[in-house]
Symmetry: C2
Subunit: 205 residues, 2 copies
């Protein structure tokens, strides 16, 4: 396993693997070093601390997991449908991880618990994406004239119930789909222009 130069990337990959196999409570820096065939001291040449290493792993995971969202936010779908799709996708991503790979989900949840910084950035990115969709909707006349950033925060908060990991225990219950749809309907109604529903570019369901 030591057939190549030791890089942060290789360490990251090994850390991810170790973390996946042992879980966040058991994975040690020594384990990671062992997987790479080096001494644990070498790992500290590339990462200042175990926390830094875990943060980097978490960051990469979030990055990969959220890629589909960036695509949707940047798409040209009409803003109401785009927002709906974006929110549904965010929910689906989290839900699939939580229900499909529970232990992995728990692992990353544990990482996240001690990485406020990383989570803060992550949430900020998501908010920006929502804000961009809202802004597009305001510009197109599909939405009322709202403050895009503040409204984005409200939308993010309002949907916490369906994406905040601490509420994952509810995601498998019956009626979740209907509840989510109902909530999104209410939010979109709240964004709709107040008076005449006239100037939309693309009629939506």
């Amino acid at each position: 396993m030591n057939d190549s130069v030791l890089t942060p990337e290789r360490i990251l990959a090994a850390a991810e693997d170790v973390l996946r196999r042992y879980g966040p409570g058991k994975a040690t820096v020594v384990d990671v070093a062992q997987a790479l065939g080096v001494s644990h001291g070498s790992v500290y040449r590339h990462f200042a601390s175990k926390a830094a290493l875990r943060d980097a792993v978490l960051r990469g995971w979030l990055e990969r997991m959220m890629a589909p969202l960036r695509a949707i936010a940047a798409s040209r779908t009409a803003p109401p449908a785009r927002l709906r799709q974006w929110l549904a996708t965010l929910r689906a991503i989290k839900r699939d991880k939580a229900l499909g790979e529970p232990e992995l989900f728990t692992t990353y949840g544990a990482l996240a618990a001690n990485a406020r910084e990383v989570i803060g950035e992550h949430v900020e990115h998501l908010r920006e994406q929502i804000a961009s969709i809202v802004a597009a909707g305001v510009a197109s006349g599909d939405f009322r004239k709202v403050d895009a950033r503040a409204t984005a925060l409200a939308i993010f908060d309002a949907t916490s119930r369906f994406h905040y990991p601490g509420m994952a225990h509810l995601w498998g219950m019956p009626g979740e789909d209907a509840a989510f749809a109902q909530l999104v309907d209410l939010l979109l109604a709240g964004l709709a222009p107040t008076s005449a529903p006239g100037k939309r570019r693309k009629p939506v369901a």
Copy 2:
């Protein structure tokens, strides 16, 4: 301390006290019995198990804590203002407990974690109160014609961010008040009648 007959009420009061003093992890049935000056076997004559006792304590606590909400839900304030006030009060109650008596809040949080049944009922009551306000608003014409029960659930879900104990760690942050106001505004906008902004008291159709 054994100057009276042993009743479930006295046990409950003692249990509450012990729980408050020792915390949920340390409080034992023996402690409760000791506080009452009886043997712990006697406690089991009135409560089938420690879990049942804890459930009863939790139930009483929730009951007392949520009393103001019942009053608001039953008031004659115009439905939009009533809903706003109800939501603000729910938030305030939780927030005050969480920030003002953190350890007690944690204690009850721990109780709640193992009392799905009790929590389920509690949530159901809250939902019913929201539904009654929404129904009143629909009847008065202040709200769109929505399904009161489903919408109540959506409103409850949408505001989880501000009342679900698992998110208490956010409640002290700056900007929380604004974020809450923004969210409630959005929800009320979503409930407003589509055409004219309803102000009428009770015209009905």
